[in-house]
């Protein structure tokens, strides 16, 4: 009986190996960041025309995860394997026969010193010096684009090297090629303890149609699409924790008021605004059931911080200062405190308080102007915009540990840098950079490196990274 079970497991294991295997063991290398070689993949037949987009997406996603050193293509061997069977065993060294005397002595047989790419050692030795190799190919089959993707650990021998061996399916077009590349990259990144941002979205404000509207796009800047069509001023988007909704502020009905839309499909969910001269969207609570916002309701002067249900009912004020208090953001991890901007001590600064409005404390030291606070997914750090050390209005992006109030400056001029927002992986930030009169959306890593511009058309601002 036991034998049967073992055989069964063996078969299951073998099947897993054949049809889709992603090891979940976090693999780390001693002595620093692992070097990953990703040669250009090729496609059979109709698939080949999408491979430029595929390769750009695969290496782009892996590079932006910030966890690998990518081996330059010029250091790679000439022969690129497309499947594991393309690899050859490096031949055992052969004992050269004793040289024969005489004029017609045959030359000693040549012993190959490298396989041109057919040996795993070609990839792990200089000049490539990779620790890991991603390889595979695409083809079309029954009207479907198929990616066969493998990730090999080059420190192991051929029979134990495979970490990923999987099929990915997509439509036979550029979008399908990008999709399978995103999915393969996501598996590679997660193997190393990271999180692919594929499938997450950045919401932002763009005026490229002639009016400020709410837009969304993929984290690599692709698929930019318009959500609102109010032909008014619609801005200050904020995303729900599950990525299904976006709340924002619009002047379409006269006074600035809060709107909540579902994203897929795009639909107005009809938030009922209090009668007030100003209602501006702040953020969702982590359970996604309420929003905190800023309003002039009650006092007739903007603004205090309020909380309400997603349809606008059940509203009550949280803050009570007579100063301007705006941009409330609920801690996404604990749901028990709020960071916000306030002018209660003079020029605006970043503050923190409990959900009931108690225990207000100022986080920023009080110099310059500080605003745009955004929580890290771990609920312990914020990113924010601050003019410390620069002229009025010349903001830079900083991060701060809320408990210790220690801060780090991530941008250093080159225009105004505002509205930072953390990606769900807690590793990336999206923000708006204004050079001269042009405002565009950029991403970077949490250490300020790997700056990447995502938008170019019109004025683009107020990004927020949601699921």
């Amino acid at each position: 009986m036991k034998k049967l079970i073992w055989v069964g497991c063996g078969v299951a294991g073998a099947l897993c190996l054949l049809y889709g295997q992603v090891a979940q063991i976090p693999v780390t290398k001693e002595g620093g960041i692992p070097a990953l070689a990703i040669p250009d993949f090729r496609g059979a037949g109709d698939a080949q025309k999408f491979m430029a987009a595929f390769n750009e997406t695969l290496s782009g996603d892996v590079r932006s995860a910030g966890r690998f050193k990518l081996v330059p293509k010029t250091s790679m061997p000439i022969f690129v394997p497309q499947q594991p069977s393309d690899f050859q065993q490096k031949p055992a060294p052969v004992e050269a026969p004793p040289p024969k005397r005489g004029r017609n002595a045959a030359p000693a047989p040549a012993v190959p010193t490298n396989g041109g790419g057919r040996w795993m050692e070609d990839w792990s030795s200089p000049p490539a010096q990779a620790n890991f190799l991603a390889f595979g190919y695409t083809a079309t089959q029954n009207g479907v684009l198929v990616l066969q993707g493998w990730l090999f650990d080059l420190s192991k021998d051929m029979s134990n090297a495979q970490l990923i061996g999987k099929r990915y399916l997509g439509t036979v077009d550029e979008a399908g090629a990008r999709k399978v590349a995103h999915e393969f990259a996501a598996d590679i990144i997660s193997l190393f303890g990271g999180q692919s941002m594929f499938g997450t979205h950045i919401y932002y404000t763009s005026d490229r149609t002639g009016h400020k509207e709410i837009w969304m796009m993929d984290p690599d800047g692709k698929n930019q699409r318009q959500i609102t069509r109010f032909s008014s001023i619609s801005t200050y988007p904020t995303a729900s924790p599950d990525g299904s909704k976006v709340a924002f502020t619009s002047w379409v009905k006269g006074q600035p008021a809060i709107f909540i839309f579902s994203v897929d499909p795009v639909r107005d969910l009809r938030y009922y605004n209090q009668a007030a001269s100003v209602n501006q969207a702040g953020s969702f609570t982590p359970d996604g059931k309420q929003i905190v916002y800023a309003s002039s309701a009650g006092t007739g002067r903007c603004c205090r911080i309020f909380i309400a249900n997603l349809d606008g009912t059940g509203f009550r004020p949280i803050s009570s200062s007579s100063a301007i208090e705006v941009e409330p953001k609920v801690n996404p991890k604990t749901g028990s405190d709020i960071v916000f901007s306030s002018g209660r001590s003079g020029p605006q600064q970043v503050y923190r308080m409990n959900m009931d409005g108690s225990d207000v404390e100022r986080l920023t030291p009080g110099t310059g102007e500080a605003s745009n606070a955004s929580w890290h997914p771990d609920g312990q750090r914020i990113a924010f915009a601050w003019t410390q050390g620069y002229a009025t209005g010349a903001f830079n992006v900083f991060t701060m540990n809320v408990a210790s109030k220690e801060y780090v400056q991530l941008t250093h001029g080159d225009g105004k840098n505002e509205n930072p927002s953390w990606a769900p992986d807690g590793v990336h930030l999206v923000f708006a950079k204004t050079r001269g009169k042009s405002s565009q959306i950029w991403t970077m890593l949490a250490d300020g490196s790997q700056l990447q511009q995502l938008t170019t058309t019109g004025q683009n601002e107020r990004p927020v990274w949601g699921k």
Binding site: K212, Y236, T249, P256, S277, A294, C302, E327, G343, E369
Partner: protein, 263 residues
Amino acid sequence: MFSKRKLSTICLAVTLAMFAAGCKKKVPVQTPPPPPPPPAVVETPRPAAPVVAQFTAEPTSIQRGQSSTLRWEVTGQVTSVSINQGVGTVQSTGSSRVNPADSTTYTLTANGPGGSITASASVNVATPPPPPPPAAPPASTMTIDQRLGSDVQDAFFDYDKTDIRNDARDVLSRNASALKQILSDFPNASIVIEGHCDERGSAEYNLGLGDRRASSAKEFLQGLGVPADRLKTISYGKERPQCTDQNESCWQKNRRVHFAAGQ
């Protein structure tokens, strides 16, 4: 019996004879021979001078800038016809459009073998009536937007401030009078006080500043008797700048309240 002629000849002869007889010198009187008869005079009919059958100006009175039409007809033997005041040589019959700047008398001269003749026609040019005086057009002809544009000014604020400073106080005081008049002339209208900011602060905070600037202005105007129920406020924060240069001159222009007609 005798023709008249013969009789007169005889009378003449007898008279001469008697005269001769009466002279001192006695000369043998001879009957002078009859004088030859006077030559026969062929009288050709004398030609008539040309006749101006018509010379008119139509109309006879015009405003400066308008034109009149001269019409003429000259009959008889004509060698040339001309009209002065720049019209020139013309046909015997015709018309011509004239645009005199001032009252003008046109003289037509017609020449012919029988002589010349002139005629005249006058065109009276009336100067245009003076326009009505520009001062104070009746209020009902200007729209409320025009009234706001000409009679009501923006008031400005300091950075990060919402209180009414001295120059704004003066502007809003003048605005109060104008607004009261406008609201009286347009009984169904309301006025929107817009609050704006410069681009340097963060957007949501600026929405607050704009709201408070509009409210401050409204309170001030209320204090001067502008009916509060006719005044609305709206904040645009920094979303609707009226200039985008990055200097204090433009930033100051944006830190303002602006008055518009309510919808």
